[in-house]
Amino acid sequence: MKHHLAVLALLLTSTRIAAQAPAADFPAQLSVDTRQVLTRIADSARAAKLPVEPLVSKAAEGVLKGADDARIIAAVRTLARQLGEARAIMPAGTGTAALTAAASALRAGVTAETLRSLVEAGQGSDAADFGVALVTLADLAANGVPPRTAGDAVSELLRRGTPGRDLAALRSAIAQDIGDGIAPARALSARLRILMPATPTPEVRRP
């Protein structure tokens, strides 16, 4: 009997160990205290079913850029919070890249309401196309296109079944235009006239 209990205990322990996710591998250059704080943030994120890789990557970026530990902790904490906000909006099963893009969109000033509209517009879309739409929205907003205008435009394109490849091309073309000195909102309008020639382009609205 004792033998059986020992085997059962061993099995349970093994199962529990196997079920645990690996500890987040924060950069060794950080102090022990900082890594402990970051690990707690990562553990909370993991418990909330959020991906931990973006948090580790953010810390590594901070190390590379010579940021102090307090700044790195603040950045990781902010990202964890935004990932959580994004998770609450995005459909179940959203991948890490899309979730990170959604968090980035929120960071760029896109509202939860605009993100929800995009999710609604993307219902029935191919998952890859929706992911590209999300990245497009995040990048447009981050590059100065008024977030709501960007959201309306990308949602409309999704509703029209615009494939991810076209959305990616739109994103690149607008980035190029902005790099050439064209105002972001104008760049979006001009490119939308190409993609949606028969439709009035969304008005530039306040974010």
Partner: protein, 187 residues
């Protein structure tokens, strides 16, 4: 490619007039926009190796002739001369489905002695991925395999961080040095 298109103020007067006319041409056809968007994807940089193999170079005179032809056919030349994505960057599409794509990163840094690439894909390791100087002595390039996704990255030019000037910048500039974003599509 970008420099292959002549600046407008460098055009002969007659051709300048032609470009003015083209500006007021009617909107392009659906077929034309499809072609343009396809070309934009294929010319993207960072770009997949597959698209990188098909790189086009347009002589200024040829570009102008093409524009005039399009005006005759339906007026879409306006877009070509004034708004076309000439050397669109920062999107990588067309990679192997479900696998990795070889994504090309490039930067013009004529005076640099070393350029490396750092980002999400290498854990922001300062050692980075080394770029090689191209034959023109100005452009540094590297190709790396990436799975579909969205990656933040930056160049390190002679030890200093430098954002890709031709790519969308990331929203989250937490450390005072903005990153660029590359999108690798699996479809």
């Amino acid at each position: 490619m970008r420099n292959a298109l002549m600046r407008e103020d460098e055009l002969p007067i007659a051709l300048r007039d032609a470009t003015e006319l083209l500006r007021d041409a009617p909107p392009p056809s659906d077929l034309w926009r499809r072609r343009v968007l396809k070309a934009a994807s294929e010319r993207a940089a960072p770009t997949s190796a597959r698209s990188a193999r098909i790189r086009w170079s347009i002589h200024p005179a040829a570009a102008i002739a093409a524009a005039l032809l399009f005006m005759t056919l339906g007026g879409a030349g306006t877009w070509l001369l004034t708004n076309a994505p000439r050397d669109v960057v920062s999107v990588a599409t067309g990679g192997a489905v479900g696998g990795t794509s070889n994504v090309r990163f490039s930067l013009e840094a004529p005076g640099a002695s070393s350029v490396t690439l750092v980002g999400d894909f290498n854990g922001w390791d300062r050692a980075g991925v080394k770029l090689r100087r191209a034959g023109d002595g100005r452009t540094w390039t590297v190709e790396i395999p990436l799975t579909p996704g969205r990656y933040a990255y930056s160049f390190v030019v002679d030890g200093a961080l430098a954002r890709d000037p031709r790519a969308p910048r990331a929203a989250d500039d937490d450390f005072g040095s903005p990153n660029s974003i590359v999108l690798v599509s699996g479809s």
